[in-house]
Amino acid sequence: MVKNSKKILKLKKKIKEIRYNFLKLISKGVKYHIGGSLSVLDIIVCLIYSNKIDLTKTSKIRNKLILSKGHALGIFYTILMDLNLLSEKEYFSQIKNNKFGGQLDTYNCKYVDWSTGSLGHSIGVSIGMAIANPKKKIITIVGDAEIDEGSVWEGLFFISEKKIKNVHIIIDRNKLSASSFIEKKEVLDKKVLNQLNLNIFRGNGHNLINIFKYLKIIDKSKSSLAIFNTIKGNGIPEFENSLQYSHGQPDKRLITQVLKNLQN
């Protein structure tokens, strides 16, 4: 059973480490969107540490990842440091020199496959990449607020209609936008998506067995759409489902306490 496998246990440990190290960056004064970063953390860790996205290889020969919800970039950098692809010294130097900011960009980090900042663009860009690289998987992670953008649906319909085989879209459904609680039941829970010519997967984005089930779907030669229910600020009770910490920064006392709790 995958459930008890060493791999899962190892990844659970890794998730804890990445969460801790990410929050450590916050405690050092780097500003990130905590809520949306922690909601997608487990998924990103599984994608990268299962080598679905093998960042040790150059972008030209590996599968590609577009983190469309680019405000979760702190997790990405934390992972790069964990993999020794980016040193802490270099990271802070990039921050100091205003090279690393609040969004990912291809000019300042060679591990980034596409720049972010404007929501709703990544699915179309992924399609272009998929057509240019038919043997590679193009994986994009979008937020659930982002799917309001019409271009998301233009892209989905195109994938379905033209039977594009290698685009894989993950929706981080944490049910919180930057400013309000959102449900989108009509769109995500009903049969609309099932009509599309894509493998549709619904699961818990904090359950590694669920995530690994989806990673197997990615291996198939058909594009897919995964809707992962997640918790904004997952793993830290003070930040969970909090509008305040969607993009607000905790004060020194709170972040110190959070880190202390994690250590314990």
Partner: protein, 299 residues
């Protein structure tokens, strides 16, 4: 060359497409006669009426070193996907050429949705984009043969119909402008672009006034342009676009950097949208007082 200007342009593009396997052609369901034979090619992508996705896909292809040519109506390929053009194409410096058909009032009776009278300025605002406004068959031939020699994103406006009036002009793409009429003693010049070059030429024949066709609207030879303009007593900027949407701000910006003593007159559209659906192009130009007679009256 008594062909439609679009056929000249797209025939050349098709020939390049068939030779170059890294080239992709994308459209938003726009029909072009010359490209019909390649519609089933897997590198020909009809995105349907979905311009944002269309441009995003071109960007994704560009990120993997593919050349892309995107064509469609100029109004829809600009306003409907402006952020995608700015961010995904321009910021990533994609080797993407956007071909906007239907500039000016060439599709007059479809109303303001189809009037391409502001699109030039949209691209002027995006630093990475070059802009080329094709006036005639001869220029269409040269631009389409050399388009991919220009690095990075380029926006090309393409007229319709047989525009065979400048066949003897030797165009220089790097210079970006060319006299289409030149008299030894003339101290007056019409600076124009696109379809209006034809009208300016006709007025020139009657009034013996020089005509300068400005077709490359960015990165043209600014110094030479100024050096030429400085010799005139009177300069008329004649444009089918709005006063803020066309070549007027581009030229005035250049003039502002040098002392131009000439009297400058402008003849272009007021900053207004025109909800006119029944008139042909000539009638619209007449109503807007930018037609041939209005230009003649200036001199």
């Amino acid at each position: 060359m008594k062909k439609d200007i679009r056929d000249i342009f797209f025939e050349n593009i098709k020939n390049q497409f068939l030779k170059d396997k890294t080239m992709y052609i994308l459209t938003n369901d726009a029909d072009v006669y010359s490209l019909q034979s390649i519609k089933t090619n897997e590198r020909f992508i009809d995105a349907g009426v979905a311009e944002q996705n269309l441009v995003n896909m071109a960007a994704g292809l560009g990120a993997n070193n593919k050349k892309t040519l995107v064509y469609g109506f100029c109004t829809f390929l600009t306003f409907r996907c402006y952020e995608q053009l700015k961010f995904n194409i321009a910021s990533h410096n994609a080797n993407c050429k956007i071909i906007g058909v239907g500039p000016g009032f060439s599709f007059s009776n479809d109303g303001p949705t189809h009037h391409g009278i502001q699109d030039i300025q949209l691209f002027n605002l995006i630093p990475e984009f070059e802009i080329i406004n094709i006036s005639d068959n001869n220029l269409a031939n040269i631009v389409s043969k050399n388009l991919f020699k220009i690095k990075g994103p380029v926006y090309v406006r393409l007229e319709k119909g047989v525009q065979n009036y400048n066949s003897n002009i030797i165009y220089n793409l790097n210079q970006g402008f060319q006299f289409t009429k030149k008299y030894k003693t003339s101290k007056k010049v019409i600076i124009t672009t696109g379809y209006f070059c034809k009208i300016a030429n006709e007025v020139s024949d009657k009034k013996k006034i020089d005509v300068l066709n400005l077709f490359r609207l960015k990165n043209f030879n600014y110094k030479k342009f100024i050096d030429i303009c400085i010799n005139y007593d009177e300069i008329v900027i004649y444009d089918e676009n709005t006063e803020y949407g066309g070549i007027l701000p581009i030229i005035l910006n250049i003039f502002s950097k040098k002392k131009i003593k000439a009297k400058i007159k402008t003849l272009c559209i007021k900053d207004k949208q025109y909800f006119i659906y029944s008139d042909n192009r000539e009638k619209i130009l007449f109503k807007l007082k930018i037609d041939k007679k209005s230009l003649e009256k200036i001199f």
